[in-house]
Symmetry: C2
Subunit: 361 residues, 2 copies
């Protein structure tokens, strides 16, 4: 078991990474002294698989609980679902000291975080991520959001959890595609910040795909440390540091939006987006020779798609224009010089963006 500290003054918290932590969750959460009634936002599959373990451990440490099931779909990230969850929470929260547990992947995390941030102007919440994507990325840093018809994550908040419990044992039930989705973000961390992690991935992908405990603990811890460090320095994405986490995400969001968030999951779109960003970096002479191929290879090894199909290019471009990463009238791309060395560029020519997206068809 390892602990990573996210340093944000009075909003600081620990990320606990380990194996079989869920069975000890009651001990961890009761030590936070944030309440005696847990409102657990999750989906039915997670509840069936792991609900008992969580509930029992909480009860053992004097914490009552109630499960709130939401569909395991991006559609759950809506203001109307948030509204119905808040109303249910208000009915549960009858003279209790309540806190929220986000128990699931990115959808449960984003929704539960958002609900916690606005219910009574903020109640405490903790993250118990159950997917690789959530453990290495979305559960850390307090970005919460729901989608609107106009764009993904259009409404949300910066609202930090009181703890993140990353139990890699929970990853054992994930399928290859779910693991791949998380690996896209793991690869991203390597590319933007950590040569050692990138080399580790190049050497150990089979172990990771076989869900070996040691390999999972290594990558979850390595990514958690990078993200915690960046978030600690730039909580609200104001200083440009946190911006590098968006490597691959500008094109990814456009691809997801153009496909109606169905065909490609977030990680797959990020994989494609990283290829677009590394292509642009290469074309403008920023990126070291040989790197685009190395990046494409690791993405392929992780089982992620490297080609886009059955989506009109024009749809991706127009979705790109609506992306919130436009500041004023400028687009903003996180580009690459080398593994671990990024450069943020504004006003990348549209023709170049188009060309690199097209190269993925």
């Amino acid at each position: 078991m390892k602990v990573i500290k996210v340093n944000l003054k009075e909003r600081s918290y620990d990320i606990i990474v380990g194996h079989n932590l869920l069975a000890l969750s009651g001990r961890y959460l009761s030590s936070l002294k944030i309440g005696n009634s847990a409102y657990i936002i999750t989906n039915s599959l997670i509840k069936i698989k792991y609900g008992n373990i969580l509930e029992r451990s909480l009860r053992k440490h004097g914490i009552a609980s109630r499960f709130k099931l939401i569909p395991d779909s991006e559609k759950s990230k809506s203001l109307s679902i948030a509204s119905s969850v808040i109303r249910d929470l208000a009915r549960y929260d009858n003279r209790k000291k309540v806190f929220v547990i986000a128990f699931g992947g990115g959808v449960a995390g984003d929704l539960a975080g958002f609900v916690s941030s606005i219910y009574k102007r903020g109640v405490p919440y903790v993250q118990i991520p159950t997917t690789l994507l959530a453990q290495v990325d979305s559960s850390i840093g307090g970005k919460t959001a729901v989608d609107l018809a106009e764009a993904k994550n259009l409404a949300g908040s910066f609202y930090q959890p009181k703890m993140v419990l990353s139990d890699v044992k929970l990853l054992s039930s994930l399928n290859k595609r779910q693991i791949g989705a998380g690996l896209a973000e793991v690869i991203k961390y390597g590319i933007i910040r950590d040569k050692n992690l990138f080399s580790y991935l190049e050497k150990n992908m089979p172990k990771i795909l076989a869900l070996k405990r040691g390999a999972l603990e290594y990558i979850v811890y390595a990514c958690g440390k990078i993200k915690a460090d960046i978030v600690s320095k730039d909580e609200r994405e104001k200083k440009g540091m946190r911006t590098i986490l968006n490597f691959g995400h500008t094109a990814a969001h456009a691809i997801e939006a153009a496909c109606g968030y169905g065909k490609y999951n977030h990680g797959e779109a990020v994989g494609l987006g990283m290829l677009v960003a590394s292509g642009i970096s290469d074309k403008i002479g920023l990126l070291k020779p040989g790197m685009p191929a190395r990046i494409e290879k690791i993405i392929k090894t992780a089982g992620l798609p490297t080609k886009i199909s059955n989506v009109p290019l024009t749809k991706i471009i127009s979705a790109h224009y609506r992306d919130k990463k436009f500041i004023g009238s400028k687009n903003r791309f996180v580009l690459l010089r080398d593994i671990g060395r990024t450069k943020i560029l504004c006003d990348v020519p549209l023709a170049l963006i188009k060309k690199e997206i097209k190269a993925r068809f």
Copy 2:
């Protein structure tokens, strides 16, 4: 023109109090450098009366604008209206640097503040309050909220504006009932914090009710100063200081909820709530003799009701139980020792609360 500073480190801002400030709004807002496109959330009446003045002044200083009209009703404070406003804002915000103006009373302020706090995880907003209630209270301090069926202000955030422009000239079109609603909060400030203000009110109520410019500037400035001071010390209502602003509000919220937010407006309910709180303070021997009568007199002079009618007592009591001012299983009342001296008491016996509410029938 007078300036009050709200000190909250990087979230600090000015409250400008004066006469005919709206005509200069463009100058004030452009100096903030928060954007070149203003999304103005208001109601149709305000737009008809004052929209041109605001729009012209903004344009003169290089700020484009768009009006978003919402019904002037507590019903506008809902997640579904917030959702439709955000979607409209997203369509307006096409490659612009946008900020929000809350232009109206408490409803516009609470909704616009909430929308600003969650749209793209936070965009800048300013308050241009047009009612006495909003100028002395709700526009200052960054409390934003929408209502849910279960309770008022159940979802919201702490999100500070970048400026508050309080133009007392805008108050000249308010009717007696609207002025009374604001005066309830003015009286509250006097009672909880400022003997001089309380004496001023006892002597100058006719001038205030006649909407004399000097009297309005005096009370808006005095209240703004008190609220700014309290908010600066206890932004998120964690240290108990901001709690005293809830004087009269525990019973007020129950009265409003029991009446379905129609019969009594917020200020009228606060007037009644202050009478309940001063009654409880008196019965437990906390409050100086003679004070309940003085408080009742000033509330009456302001044209506010001192009696409740046509609402079942049981409905008020059950609404009281759902109030979010319950912490854990305890109620929490702001009570009074003397003008300017409060005491927060937990677990006030229900029988006593009932008795004092009953005394208002």
